[in-house]
Symmetry: C2
């Protein structure tokens, strides 16, 4: 499914705006290198590609078929896919279990099984996989490549979040719309991404799981290897009812989900911003080797707020041994503080920040760094971003470093620069601390710290 030699788009369309057109266009324009076979009995060429009347007429190998035709014709086409030797089908079409047609859903699963094909969907927006440059979705085209595999049960939300990751400069290794989960479920994908080299972290938007015990069993194995973040919607009673009418998920008691997540070491995010905040940090940073964290700041207020957040998210601020405190004193005026938050004061320029950061990276007693900046006239955010990037270039990304820059437009631009360089930066200190806290929690679960 992710590394197909050839892809057929059954229901490819000439008309821009049609799903069967947009998916084909995304596949071509995102640069997929394998063979592309549009299937449509009424067309000869679409977007410069030769069109086949049926998948059975395709000369080459088809490993993946994307199906974009009305529900009632899907079964017939699946038979053809089976005969052609297709390995996986992604059924974009809706009109199955989610509208009560469980019979039709069962039928297409049975056909797939008969031919040994795996089925993704139905009722999905497609899939994306960075290593093969395969964007077989009808979402945005310019997905940023990175190390986060994103699995979503909600289609509309998934597409909207694709746009959001582009806006927020978040890189993805894969996106999978699982829809009705008639065959392929979260647990199958966890198994795959656990071994996938490109993926460092798996993020799931979930309204319900189909097979609880199997999910727990697999998740338990996977988290030992890679962190899993789950955003489980339908936590509240009314939310669970809404989920039931949305994806037909029997959300079940949230207490059970909570217990399962805890038992498997899954990191549970409470909203999409938090989920991607965490994913960004974990995807980009090495795991912590210990608990000792320091805050380096030029603003007392943000230092205090971050300190509060450290307690909220269980990030442990160390007391500096005297020799280390002495090192940091080099980078601050006499009224600075080494009590951690290490307060370089409002007089700190990028030089003091760079000096303190270098000290923090070099000393083995420090395991993680939270760097905070409050916009001042003395240091411009862009110079500070450059200084941080340089320190990391020289010293390596040897320990987790999360950054927050509080201020205006210039801060937003500097943070964009940092994020694009793989240095997670957040507009408020709490989001930086929360992200580090999630990483610490996982590292504790697997016994690393």
């Amino acid at each position: 499914m992710f590394n197909p030699r050839g892809v057929a788009i059954i229901g490819a369309s000439r008309k821009p705006g049609k799903i069967g057109h947009e998916i084909l266009k995304n596949i071509i324009e995102y640069g997929y290198k394998g063979e592309i076979y549009p299937i449509n009995p009424k067309a000869d060429e679409i977007l410069g590609k030769k069109v086949y009347k049926s998948i059975l007429e395709v000369p080459g190998t088809v490993d993946l078929a994307i199906i974009v035709i009305p529900a009632k014709f899907v079964a017939e086409v699946l038979e053809e896919c089976g005969k052609k030797g297709v390995k996986a089908v992604a059924v974009i079409s809706s009109g199955f279990g989610e509208v009560g047609r469980h019979d039709m859903e069962e039928e297409i699963v049975e056909i797939s099984k008969k031919y040994g094909m795996r089925l993704l969907g139905p009722n999905i927006f497609g899939l994306f996989y960075a290593p093969t440059q395969l964007n077989a979705t009808f979402g945005p085209k310019d997905i940023l490549q990175g190390n986060i595999a994103f699995i979503t049960q909600s289609g509309a939300l998934g597409i909207a979040l694709m746009g959001w990751t582009i806006l927020e400069n978040i890189g993805l290794s894969a996106i999978v719309s699982v829809g009705n989960k008639a065959d392929i479920d979260d647990d199958d994908l966890l198994e795959y991404f656990s071994k996938d080299e490109k993926t460092k972290i798996i993020l799931i938007y979930m309204e319900g799981v189909k097979n609880g015990p199997r999910f727990i069993k697999i998740a338990k194995e996977v988290t030992k290897n890679k962190p899993i973040i789950v955003l489980k919607a339908g936590r509240s009673k009314r939310g669970a009812m809404a989920a039931a009418s949305h994806t037909g998920s029997l959300a079940g008691s949230d207490t059970i989900y909570s217990a399962a997540f805890k038992q498997t070491g899954i990191l549970r995010a409470m909203n999409v911003a938090e989920a991607f905040d965490w994913a960004r940090a974990i995807a980009e940073l090495p795991p912590p080797e210990g608990e000792n964290t320091i805050i380096i700041t030029n603003g007392g207020g943000v230092g205090v707020m971050a300190t509060d957040a450290c307690e909220d998210y269980n990030v442990k601020l160390m007391n500096l041994p005297e020799d280390l405190a002495q090192e940091f004193r080099k980078y601050m005026p006499p009224f600075g503080s080494v009590k951690n938050p290490i307060d370089l004061t409002g007089q700190a320029s990028e030089k003091e920040f760079a000096g303190a950061l270098k000290t923090a990276l070099k000393d083995d007693r420090i395991h993680a760094v939270i760097l905070l900046y409050c916009q001042t006239a003395i240091t411009d955010p862009n110079s500070l971003a450059d200084a941080i990037i340089n320190v990391i270039k020289e010293n390596g990304k040897t320990k987790p470093l999360v950054i927050s820059m509080v201020g205006g437009k210039e801060c937003a631009e500097a943070m964009k620069k940092l994020n694009l360089k793989g240095l997670p930066a957040y507009p408020i200190p709490e989001r930086a601390v929360s992200s580090l806290g999630a990483y610490m929690k996982w590292a504790r679960y697997i016994g690393k710290i």
Copy 2:
């Protein structure tokens, strides 16, 4: 202090970058209409303004003096201010209580009292007041005017947040840096802003209060009239220690603060983003007349998440009476839902959104509306923003409406447009719900609902 006939800047400087220059420049450029008197014994003209050697030489009335000279000279200059008949002084200078010189701080308070002057600071970045176009700060110049009065104990954070409000299109009626609070304290400002017509909501960043009982007494009165949001840093034990070394605040037990906030109806925000999210909604929207809330959405997933958030933030989703459900059914396909979340489905265009919103605004049984949008190819975010703005133009802002648009760049732009029109819009549903929840909480406290 806020409506001075004349302002003196004692320590005005010719050199760009110097605080005594930047404050003068901001006062001139932001358009303050009263008289401006730079004071500097060694200059004749700065930024086109005649300079006086001493405040005693100024011919006209000076109601407010901004003092930007080294700490050791402040006392002498205050005596002169007193003789000149100045009503209020804002002491920007640091080097008082915050570095242990409580003696010097007491001295300047005594001099002020002797002459009946009120003293703001010391150790502050100044003040801003929208109605008189007075930007007497050394922060950013282009502050957006609005209805939020922002009081901050932290200077660096305050300046950084000034930039942030510009970036986020948040309008302010006033900004006051209270610094060491040697004389003017949060409670004095609460009394003032409670009666200030331009101010609809008061937001305080606080590390500690000086006079707890007085603060509680006044806050209790003020909240009956206007909501107060407090971001109290130093919640944790280590955070309280950091606050003590930052502003010298004895943060005290957080339990005491929590109880005080609860008792006075103060809304406690946990971070700056939350504080300004709430403030924006409260500043722009009419208070709720009841508890009955509906969610209108085009995405099931965001609807479920918002429903969860309603439980978290105590926002009450109503069950629609059948006649009302019937009304909403007009704006959705048969597989839509009127179970609240009202799911217009992914097929909804701006027309369906507008129709549903109009219905919600017109029916008196509905008291508040949460409108959610998941970016789709069917409706572009900009058209939806225009449609919402039009509905509000025609029907009036008669009840609280919070919006969330999940998606990419186009959503960010559409939300900017909505925010600039006074329609609070947030990138994730939870922030919209949390803001409405804060308003509901206040309305409950004062017995309005």
